[in-house]
Amino acid sequence: MTTMTFGRAITAGLRRAMEDDPKVILMGEDIGKLGGVFRITDGLQKDFGAHRVLDSPLAESGILGTAVGMAYRGYRPVVEIQFDGFIYPAFDQIVCQVAKLHYRTQGAVRMPITIRVPFGGGIGSPEHHSESPEAYFTHTSGLRVVSVSDPQDAYTMIQQAIASDDPVLYFEPKRRYHVKGEVDETGDASASDMGTARVVARGTDVTLVTYGPLVPTARDAAVAASDEGISIEVIDLRSLAPIDFATVEASVRKTGRLVITHEAAQSGGLGAEIAASITERCFDVLEHAPVRVTGFDIPYPYSKLEFHHLPDLDRILDGVDRVMRRHNSLSGPTTEGVSQ
């Protein structure tokens, strides 16, 4: 076991993947000498050469489009999108080409492209640097979407994403890059499955589902709730497309209550998909309608107000109170028979 930051764990995973497979090529803006604006590719160009760590012209569609061509040629491109809000120029290439070429060619052409996206807020940045665009991609068939929440997963899942013959969007919670954790670098990445969700805190009263940057917040919420005698089971989805609903369902069958939290806007977001799918599967055991605690349906706000937008410990606990029919922000003075 080695103690390393979340960001360093991704670097280590990239390094391992590049050592294991000479077809792995990194592409992106400022990823060479600079090592990326978050330094995730630090040292890789020096060690593997400029032919394997390519600084790209500043054109996201161009980066993804050429990655498609590289994949046609048998390479495994790992693309860095510098910030979440910069991915949209590449949207057409991702949605129309990366996602669909395998289907279009009836399996003849594979697109083993990994698209790394630092995402989410909480770092005091200007517009376009703090977004959570994952639902655009979970809605697109042909893509796999994952988000990691701790250094061990960061290390292992980047290798799994690169090894996947299907394209993977790998969302990195940028505000957690400096969080430290233990990483076992000796394990075989292919031994586990990035498609499964993980129960990160056991509980019996409420199932709290989240991913990426809010996993630590959700764990904190579980600790805080236990002080009031409420037992929360926290699930880190890890895979956002497809979602491992079997794990969520098993938990909700035990707790009867579901709270979903994410930074992304609410309407049409992943919370809606999870609420609908779990309601379809678990309607008979639900004690309350699923509750979503999410970012608002607004453009990502300027940084002095961003913590009003981002779900935090107290807003999550307020959601837990709602699903528990306890006194909460919407219940008014009484606590009896309150649903929302």
Binding site: I25, H51, L54, S56, P57, A59, S61, G62, L64, G65, T66, A67, V68, G69, M70, A71, Y72, R73, G74, Y75, P89, D92, Q93, C96, Q97, K100, H102, Y103, R104, T105, Q106, G107, A108, V109, R110, S141, G142, R144, S164, D165, D166, G195, A241, P242, I243, D244, F245, A246
Partner: protein
């Protein structure tokens, strides 16, 4: 009207200003190569007169009578394929077809310059290029009959299946060429697109990447003067070939209805790419004689005189005239060409009509290369749904 005129440009309004593709005497001065010169390279004028060219003659010195005959046969055959497919659409056997009528020389001339290990990334109109790559004729029709999203395995003929998103394939070609560089190979990626595509960001980004990495890619733009109903003047205020030098990419304008000239400039571009010289941009000036697709009606937006003007520059007629002047257009030869074209058309029709119908559950195939819990569940439910019709009693309530 004034505004329209301004928007559509003064030089290329509606494609009516034909770049000097030969004069009454057929005299065309050899323009300087690779600098995006406006005067198209021409070796065979619209009257079928072969003109010497100080630079490009050497590139087609091997094209003897037999090779000229083969090029002519190719063009006749692909025109026949085009006509047969159009007929199949009119008869309800195809949902749609994008004709290449008028662009045979551009596609055959460039397509026959390619090596087997080169890789083509085209749009949907390059059926003659696919023919050069050795495509199974039935595969040309699968998409247009609605039986598949692509007709062939790209690796079987080293040609990606046709791209519908305008210009997107130019980036794929550039990336593929970057891969060729990584491999230290001397193959070339060739990408085809139209004048409309040159307005797309992807095409411009592709030229940036190609120039920066000196990727072995050839940009073959068929300026057929029309992007559905929009004239080339709306896409480009100056000749399209002039843009590439601004990216640091040598370019050449060629008479796209002259199969010899198209062969020559493409060979030169391929040789440059193979020898480490990086990308080249070719603008083949041609004309879309037919509609954009069988669903289009060009009479709504273009002048009959323009069509007539371009008909006089037909790529097949001028080569036939040359062959005739060389004594190579005898009846035995023309009969054999016709027989070949008829056989190809019959094979195409037979392939179309005998194509197996796709199975309902095929819709779920190949979305992913690995099992996917969301999709597997939907597939399972749909299978059970379909099965419920077979299991359901003839009478009774639902």
């Amino acid at each position: 009207m004034t505004q329209d005129h301004a928007l559509q440009g003064s030089e290329f309004d509606g494609g009516t200003r034909v770049p000097a593709a030969g004069t009454a005497t057929g005299a065309v001065l050899p323009g300087p190569a690779h600098d995006g010169a406006d005067e198209p390279v021409q070796l065979l004028d619209h009257l079928g007169v072969r003109h010497a060219h100080e630079h490009y003659d050497a590139l087609v010195a091997d094209v003897d009578g037999a090779a000229l005959r083969k090029l002519y046969e190719d063009m006749v055959v692909v025109r026949r394929i085009d006509a047969e497919a159009t007929a199949l659409q009119r008869q309800g056997e195809l949902a749609l077809w994008p004709p290449l009528l008028g662009q045979e020389a551009a596609q055959i001339g460039s397509g026959r310059a390619l090596r087997e290990d080169d890789f083509v990334f085209s749009s949907y109109r390059e059926n003659a290029v696919a023919y050069c790559r050795g495509v199974d004729l039935t595969d040309l029709l699968r998409v247009w009959r609605g039986n598949a999203s692509s007709g062939w395995d790209p690796y079987s003929i080293n040609m990606a299946t046709p791209q519908v998103i305008i210009g997107a394939q130019t980036l794929h070609a550039t990336g593929y060429a970057m891969g060729i560089l990584q491999d230290g190979d001397d193959a070339v990626a060739m990408t085809y697109f139209g004048d409309g595509a040159t307005s797309q960001g992807d095409v411009n980004e592709a030229m940036v990447f190609a120039a920066s990495y000196q990727a072995p890619v050839v940009f073959f733009c068929q300026n057929n003067h029309w992007a559905i109903s929009e004239p080339v003047g709306l896409q480009a205020h100056v000749p399209i070939a002039r843009r590439a030098p601004g990216f640091g990419i040598p370019s050449v304008r060629v008479d796209g209805n002259d199969v010899l000239a198209c062969l020559a400039v493409t060979r030169e571009a391929l040789a440059r790419a193979r020898s480490g010289g990086g990308p080249t941009f070719i603008e083949a000036v041609t004309y879309r004689m037919g509609p954009h697709t069988t669903a289009d009606d060009p009479k709504r937006y273009r002048d009959a005189n323009e069509l007539e003007d371009w008909a006089s520059r037909d790529p097949l007629a001028r080569l036939a005239t040359l062959l005739d002047s060389l004594g190579l257009l005898d009846a035995d030869y023309t009969d054999s060409v016709k027989a070949t074209a008829d056989a190809v058309a019959a094979e195409l029709r037979q392939g179309c009509l005998s194509m197996p119908e796709p199975e309902p559950m095929d819709v779920f195939k190949h979305v992913y290369s690995a099992p996917n819990s969301w999709l597997d569940r939907q597939q399972d439910h749909y299978e059970r749904y379909l099965a419920s019709f077979e299991q359901a009693p003839q009478e009774g309530s639902r």
